[in-house]
Symmetry: C2
Subunit: 408 residues, 2 copies
């Protein structure tokens, strides 16, 4: 009889966001008159940049003609897009990342999950706590953890707490880990990392021959000039890091779907004999076998992000959401909350009032203010006592949500 | 130190199509004057249906407005698309497949690879030989096989030969297998399966509690009214089969990217204790965790395939490519070749002349006729001695390619 992958049965109930949706649906069905404002999922709300719409419209028209029609594209993404990414996102910052090292995909969620395909199942893995749940859940699904402990953590993973006490900077683990996930600007806390701090991680990884999986999906929100946008701004990172990037949050592509992953050509792991095995080739083989590339139309849209008009529009979008984040910080502080993040990231991270859990505070905000956020504990044990609000919404909704919270 | 997934090292050199590209590039570089006609990869060549272009254009414009903008969509696909699929592709043929059982994705290559995520690693797996290489390679990559044997097959897989002798109908395996991949209309042979023959597989799967992974990516090319388009036309299939479908070959979406997978709600596997575990829930959890849905714009394009205008245009596309297949069959037979397939599938499957291998014939056609096809041996041991030509090309290219072959 067909056997299932039993690792799935170790997963805790529902992925965080579906769980939130369920609670919100139950609430709105019971309270049909209330107008809930959602600052939960990190989903953008503003229209696509006109430059992207125009480029996609042109690509679409091409696809309707004999001469312009495109079938399967390269699994790695079109050369013209990879070249634009290389020049604009890396070379311009002094990072020697070539277009060949860039793999275009349909999402960072996919990439940061799929990367495990090419890595051994016997690696010791570290994640921050709180953490983007996908990193943990995909490790569980692929049998890289044991069962859940009573506190909700999984056996076999190394958790690196990030909290008020350590200023949301994970400490270098005392024991050697083989793989570590780092996400900066951080989801969910909105914290950033300096070059000096990130250098420590790169040094650690090189010394221990570890791999850093660096998620930079929110780099576009960085305001402070000294904060690195890419891990490759740190010397040596090309020998120890893979980076994930996305068009979801800068250009509003959450419903369009485009992202990319950087795998430097000289990056390697080892097999059980201790031979060096090149990760670029494994990922290339994975993508050629299991993936068929991103829609041509969408790739033309992503390319337009790098046009001068596209850059202007992306900057306006970032400014818009960061102004939201500023309003949220100010209003929440004036209401007496302790607030972190929101300076270089579209998330504010609130300390929940004493004697409340994160989920208590979720229900409290939903019922008293019709505002939806994300309970910190949904991101991990050390997220308990915190709460995430997203700056992705219209100005009116942000203002209204803040007024409602102030007036509870 | 970070360890790699060593199963990748078992893979034979380059995935088939990249290998073909390499040979063709070498040839064209050395013979710059020759105009190669590619009948190799099964990639469509005609423009997108106008109905799809129109719908995608409207969706794109929506995305540029405040009111019409869409962020993350449901990971499973939008309800309106799933509903159209359910009604048009299944209910209309008497198959009780509900919209909830349909998971929209960015490609059948992805789905037929990713499905292994939810299945145990200790299943005995059968594939036909020849076979679409993705089924085999993804099993190798996930450690479900042993090493390659000298003949190029992998230890641990059950190969079911399909050839002239058995009229390209795989025989039911003598030993129990847990999972079997079936693809009809078949890629690469172009063979089909009758309801009576498919019923034997469904009965076998139910008796042995096996799972059939049924790839129906080419169903739109079926001309004969008695050939099933879906495995769910067979009684009992909802208890033993997952079906993969694609918009790539009917509506020409190879560069647009949209497909779907059907997982019936009552379908189950078991865990090691022998408990029944529902596969729909596992796949739903997989998609929610590792995937972020298909582009809204693309889904609107897929929806338009089911409009009356869309259906008309898809029919014309199918007729066009099937006329190509007819021309190819006739011309190749007149040139003395034994030809199979091409009646209900966009592929013709040629018996290679005596004393030539499939790759010999590949080089021969390339050098003598400037025509590219796919060596049967690239699809497996039992494909040796055969050669695939695809009907996906312009009429002019098909006519020219056939003239060149006839005149060698």
């Amino acid at each position: 009889m067909v056997k299932v992958n039993e690792n799935y049965l170790k997963l805790k109930a529902g992925y965080l966001f579906p769980e939130i949706s369920k609670r919100v649906n139950n609430y709105t069905q019971a309270n049909s008159s209330s107008k809930v404002i959602k600052l939960g999922i990190g989903d953008v709300t503003e229209p696509l940049p006109k430059a992207c719409v125009k480029a996609m419209g042109e690509a679409l028209n091409e696809m309707g003609t004999n001469n312009g029609f495109k079938g399967y594209g390269p699994e790695q993404g079109y050369g013209w897009l990879r070249e634009k990414i290389s020049v604009n996102d890396f070379i311009s910052r002094g990072c020697q990342i070539s277009s060949e090292e860039i793999f275009v995909s349909d999402g960072s969620k996919c990439d940061s999950s799929n990367i495990l395909d090419i890595l051994g199942s016997d690696n010791l893995i570290a994640v921050t706590d709180p953490v983007y749940p996908v990193y943990v859940d995909t490790n569980v699904m692929t049998g890289r953890t044991g069962e859940t402990l009573q506190n909700g953590t999984y056996q076999g993973l190394v958790y690196l707490a990030i909290n008020e006490e350590n200023k949301f900077q994970p400490e270098i683990p005392k024991k050697k880990v083989d793989i570590v996930y780092l996400c900066f600007p951080n989801n969910p806390t909105g914290a950033t990392i300096t070059k000096q701090e990130l250098k420590k991680w790169v040094d650690y990884a090189i010394e221990n021959k570890s791999l850093i999986l660096f998620d930079a999906a929110y780099e576009a929100f960085i305001q402070d000039k000294n904060i690195p946008h890419s891990i490759y701004e740190i010397e040596g990172a090309k020998n120890c890091a893979i980076e994930f990037r996305s068009f979801s949050k800068n250009a509003g592509f959450t419903g369009v779907r485009c992202a990319y992953t950087v795998i430097p050509k000289n990056l390697s792991g080892q097999n059980s004999k201790g031979d060096k095995i090149d990760l670029w080739s494994l990922w290339n083989r994975r993508q050629c076998t299991k993936f068929n590339g991103v829609s041509y139309i969408v790739q033309r849209g992503a390319e337009a992000v790098y046009s001068s008009q596209g850059k202007k529009e992306v900057n306006s979008l970032i400014d818009f959401y960061m102004k939201n984040a500023e309003i949220m910080q100010n209003k929440l502080r004036s209401a007496g909350f302790k607030v972190y993040g929101g300076d270089n990231a579209p998330y504010v991270w609130i300390k929940v009032p004493d004697r409340m859990t994160s989920w208590d505070f979720f229900d409290y905000l939903l019922e008293k203010a019709d505002v939806v956020g994300t309970p910190g504990s949904g991101f991990g044990l050390a997220g308990e006592g915190y709460f995430r609000l997203s700056a992705f919404n219209s100005r009116m909704n942000v203002n209204n949500a803040m007024e409602r919270i102030i007036n509870i």
